[in-house]
């Protein structure tokens, strides 16, 4: 597969690892922010190959994991309404809310369908004109433009039964919130790859400037990640933190203008509720008034039971990088992929699921 296989070359990878070993002279703490990076690192066993000076932490880059219980409860409540079809990405199915999950709701009466794309959700809306089709809009800036595009398309085509529950979140604000919390002494951040395809690299410039933390925007193949680690180590060893793009075939400093415009047309910035962190101002998206007829929160009235957090669950600490899965008393015992207590175990990108699945020996 072009642009994939070349970046998995084993010989090059081994040499890059050696180069990193030569360069790294001091303890270096890096955070990979994006869940996709977590999975890629764990699947290839990269962590095992890096020198002991380089410590890799996983941050809150999994849009499923950071979805608050209240929002999961909302999705389930919407699913129980009559004549409603819920369309969702597979990632959300097993996430436990306060009382249940979409998967459990599907096992009762709710019509919940897994889709690959908002395009599929629109098709389900066209095929079922007497039902309301609600799309559960999770994701970061990579997915937000696709949701915006679906709303514009629904408007263009006059599709009247398509709605979105807007749970989109933004990366740079949460990175700032994490750094402000000051719980971690980070030396470098492996910046999200595909979010940056949309927003570019400029939004991260405040990080080296205000916090002295090195930033490299990384791709997802093993060679991409190793290159990013190498570039971060070079920055850190030289004491000159900045924002660099390692994923040059995908990311431009200015991002994707078309996508950003579409997002701006449909959404406005709002505060958002992040699991384990709380409400963070200007860190999420809300559907603009002009398109409020597509907003599931406006169109449907639901009553929610009081929101509950699972006892003993430290997903919040894990998302902030202050604890790792093995620190959690529930990890592997009460909390397993079959019976997850918190979202970090459910989402394939969640730290706990990644540790559980891809434990290295």
């Amino acid at each position: 597969m072009k642009f994939i296989d070349e970046f998995r070359d084993v010989e090059l990878a081994k040499k890059l690892v050696n180069r990193i070993k030569q360069l790294s002279t001091r303890p270096t703490r890096l955070m990979e922010f994006c869940g996709g990076h977590t999975v890629s690192i764990m699947r290839s066993g990269l962590r095992q190959l890096l020198p002991p000076t380089v410590e890799m932490l996983s941050g809150p880059g999994c849009p499923v994991c950071v979805t608050a219980n209240a929002d999961i409860d909302k999705s389930i409540a919407l699913a129980s309404l009559p004549d409603v079809i819920i369309t969702t990405f597979g990632d959300m199915m097993k996430v436990p809310g306060s009382y249940s999950s979409l998967q459990q709701a599907r096992a009762t009466e709710a019509d919940i369908r897994i889709v690959y794309s908002t395009q599929d959700a629109l098709q389900i809306a066209r095929d079922n004109p007497t039902q309301s089709v609600i799309f559960i809009g999770i994701g970061f800036e990579t997915t937000a433009p696709t949701i915006a595009a679906s709303i514009l398309q629904a408007e263009n085509e006059g599709i009247k039964n398509y709605y979105v529950l807007c749970l989109s979140k933004l990366c740079p604000p949460i990175m700032k919130a994490l750094l402000d919390l000051g719980e971690l002494k980070l030396d470098g951040i492996i910046c999200p790859g595909h979010v940056s395809v949309i927003i570019g690299s400029r939004p991260y410039e405040f990080i080296p400037r205000e916090y002295g933390v090195a930033c490299v925007v990384s791709g997802f193949e093993p060679l991409d990640i190793l290159l990013s680690v190498e570039m971060l180590v070079e920055q850190i060893e030289s004491g000159k933190p900045k924002v660099e793009i390692a994923y040059r075939r995908g990311v431009k400093p200015e991002g994707n203008k078309t996508a950003l415009e579409l997002m701006d047309r449909v959404f406005e910035v709002d505060s958002a509720d992040w699991r384990g962190i709380g409400v963070v101002p200007a860190s999420g998206l809300k559907i603009r008034k002009k398109f409020e007829r597509f907003d599931a929160e406006q169109a449907f009235s639901i009553t929610l039971e009081p929101v509950r957090e699972a006892k003993g669950c430290i997903c919040g600490d894990i998302l902030r990088g202050v604890k790792i899965p093995i620190d959690c008393k529930l990890f592997r015992k009460a909390c397993t992929p079959e019976h997850p207590v918190g979202p970090c175990m459910v989402s394939s990108e969640g730290s706990c699921a990644a540790y559980y699945q891809y434990e290295t020996v």
């Binding site: 994939i4 994701g139 997915t143 696709t146 595009a149 999200p192 075939r249 995908g250 994707n256 078309t258």
Partner: protein
């Protein structure tokens, strides 16, 4: 965090394109990449092309990787 895969644009019809990877095909939206042309590679995320892969940069990156790798040999 987002699974996006480089796929080849095989044909274009308005806002949609037929793309291909490893023999797998699908109709996707190119509303976010109106500049995409047949023969381009695009990054595909949830049924939308989110950018056109910059082949020149890809080659440049591989070159950088190979140079770094040979630095290792010198030591």
């Amino acid at each position: 965090m987002c699974l996006a895969v480089p796929v080849k644009v095989v044909s274009i019809e308005g806002n949609e394109a037929e793309v291909e990877i490893g023999g797998v095909r699908r109709r996707v939206s190119i509303v976010l990449t109106p500049e995409a042309k047949v023969g381009d590679y695009v990054l595909l995320h949830t049924g939308y092309a989110i950018n056109v892969v910059n082949e020149a940069e890809a080659q440049e990156t591989l070159k950088i990787l190979e140079e770094m790798a040979s630095l290792d040999e010198v030591h």
